[in-house]
Amino acid sequence: MSVWSFGFNQSLHHKSEAPVAERQHSSYQPNSYSGKINEPKERRQKDHHFDAIPSSMKDNAFKANGDGRESEGSAFCTKDNLLHCIAYVNQDLEMLGFPCLKFEDGNCIADLYFFINRLNDILGLYHKTVAVKEDLETKNHRLSCETNHHQSTCARLRREKNQLDREVGQEKEKTRQINLKYKQVSGKLKTEKEEVKRLLAVMESRNVQHKHDNNKKEREIISLKERLHQLLADKVPDRKVGMDLRNVLSSGEGRRATWKTNQAKLEEEMYQLVISNYEERQRELMLENEDLRDCMLSLQRQLSGLLKRTAGTNTASGQKSQSVETSFLHESHLLKEKENLSEQKKLFFEEKSAFEKERRAFTDAARHFCIERQAFQEERAKAQKLNPQNVSLVREKHSKSKGDASHHTRMLPATPVFSPAKESNDSGDSIPVKKLTMEEVHQPFSLPPGSTPTLSVAKLAESLSKDGETSNIPVLTVQNSPIVHFTPSTPVKQTAPSPLSLLPSLSVAASSSLYQSYASTKADIHTDRVEEAASLASIRAARVRIRSATQQDGS
């Protein structure tokens, strides 16, 4: 007889750790327990020894007969397998902690009491287990009821929550819409308020304007009444009303005075004019239409050409098209640059020619000045010979002399402060300025490219004022000392600028050179300036007298 060691399990359902072959209790049917006890698969996995037990015994081992009857052919313990059964039962008893059947030489020492006690123990165990089972079952039942209850409440609450969520969503949506409406309405209200304000302001201004007009009309009525009153009261006969004409004039370009033609002819003429205007306008519009059509066609052609080219290269390869595009870009850039360059070249040449002209003008001016100076010196010498005494000057009265060509008005200098639109040094930018002054080429001065002439102008003006010298340009200073009147000779008249010229400013180089020329040429006059001035005046007066004398003689 083999003694099998097995682990003692605390619980009924616990599996042991020793690897055990699973006991196959497929035939086990716990009918007496109405299926509440778990299947016996997990049970007794320690039972190695069951392999040794014949299958008939295994089958009958747990055959539970509810009534306790043993069926004849299916008894657990028979004569044959007594020992085996005893071993088996001992196993269980030991496991449960009850004293086991004792063996001695093939005899079982157990007596009836032992068996009854054992039976009692087992029954007690059974009752306990049943109680536990019932307890567990009730607990289980209760728990399952509770879980059902919980689940149902959970489901209900979830449903409620969903519904509430939906309601909340709806409420939110409503509030959002109401907010939107509110915003719209408040916006409308604001615009309406503004509109009201604006209309009130308009009404106010119209009111004011109406009142003003009314006042004006009232005042006019008052003055009309006054006039009427005056006329009614006026006993004096009308003075000669009408036109007093020395002699009738001839109309315009020798046109004959026409008779009063009838209305129809005039109307016809007017309509003809209207029609001709319309015809002209139509012609212009047609021309414009043609131009626009041509333009559109050419654009269309260009566009289609471009598309064809790009389409063609697209079929070949993407790179090619890209290169074509870049080549187009390059081409256009190059063209643009070429155009710019040609423009700049043109401007440069224009500027160059302008400079040339300027230089020529300067030299002319200097030459004229020299001639003038010489002439003046000669005259001075002559005058000194003729008239040793001083003659006071007569101030020009505008109501006096008539047609005195020699009588020249004084001009007062003023230095304008010029701010150019662009302060750049490119020759290109300032060329337009040049162009403007080119028209005034007769002036000896013109604007240099890009430089602000204020300083140079001021300098020259100062220098001129310091010298108090007259020049062929009628720029004179106003002094309290005897006035210098200079009668310009005829060549100078060409160079005399119009009184209100825009840009008579100087180039730096030109001004300095001119100043130097002034300084050099009048070095000898500088000393006895005042006497010169006086003698000039005397010369002038003498001239006036001579001329008037000749005129008198002539008339």
């Binding site: 109501s399 106003v478 309290n480």
Partner: protein
Amino acid sequence: MNFSELFRQSLQLCRFSPDGKYLACASDYRVVIRHFDTLQVQHVFSCLDAVQCIEWSADSQFILCGMFKRGMVQVWSLETTDWHCKIDEGSAGLCAVTWSPDGRHILTTADFHLRITVWSLVTKSVSYIRYPKKCAKGIDFCSGGKYMALAERRDCKDHVSIFSCQAWALVRHFETETDDLAGLEWSPDARVLCVWDSCLAYKVLLYSLDGRCLARYSAYDLALGVKSLAWSPSSQFLALGSFDKKVRLLNHVTWKTVATLSHPELIESSTAIVYKEVETRIPAAPSSAVSKAPTASLYASQSKYEVVPTPVKVPTISPATNKANPRLGVGLLAFSHDNKYMVTRNDNMPCVVWIWDVRKISLCALLIQTSPVKCVIWDPSRPRLALCTSNNKLYMWSPEGSLAVEVPVEGQSLLC
């Protein structure tokens, strides 16, 4: 730059003759004709009373002097100085006088705009036109001098009469749709007559020569309307300056707006050049001789323009809203004679002059002065603008730049 000495004048009556040869200057009862170049006196005419108006005839042969207080007009001839003409309106009084384009007829307007009399210097005949309207611009002659448009008011309604200037006969007479006609102006090509309403209603009407209404334009309702109006010299655009501080350009084909130019307080345009007048008080160098000039002239303020980069804030004044004809809106509007530029002034920014490029329809230059601008005039031959602000300086603008020059004034009397 040279300035002549001061000449006497009264009421700013200085007019150049149309051919540009003479300058007429009226001072009290005398009218002085000078040669434009040498400023020498050619003629002096003495009138019977203080002169309020002088006008050259179109062929520069004659000059008329209107004396409104006496109700008389005197006409002088430049060629034959002994020729004279005197027109006496008598008790009817005189409030305006003008030449006709042929230079041989004179139109006088009697007091209270009772009637307009056409005096012929050729036939010595007289014609009367009744019911002329008293408005800012009631008479306009078309270029070429063929027709004259006259605003009339009969039976509390506005009418326009078109007269032929050769025969002085009425050619067309039609009623306009305005409530209170404020002015009329022919287009420079004499095809269209523009008629505008007073500022209480924004209404601009365009009539053809025979009186058909070609178009109506109204930018907005109720608020104050058109303040100034100008045709472009090619008749392509009609510029309307209104009290809402905007200028609207209408095109001559459809009479709809091509552009609306506004005058904002903050200029951010990068293409416009802004010139700001800067006054510097520097002691001017006194003349070297002993000067008895008052010391104020030693420290005269000099002005120059500074180019200011955008953005620029424009100085604005807010006008009183309880006064009629408020200082608000575009009151000055003029095209340059080459049709390239247009100048405007917004009256609530009185120190600022706006210059627009017509080809691009954008702001091209801005001049900010230190005092309110009083008078702005284009050069008749080139794109150049002259303006003054009632100080002693003259300002000019051209596309190349702008300049400021002080008009020199003699400090003391000069001679014995």
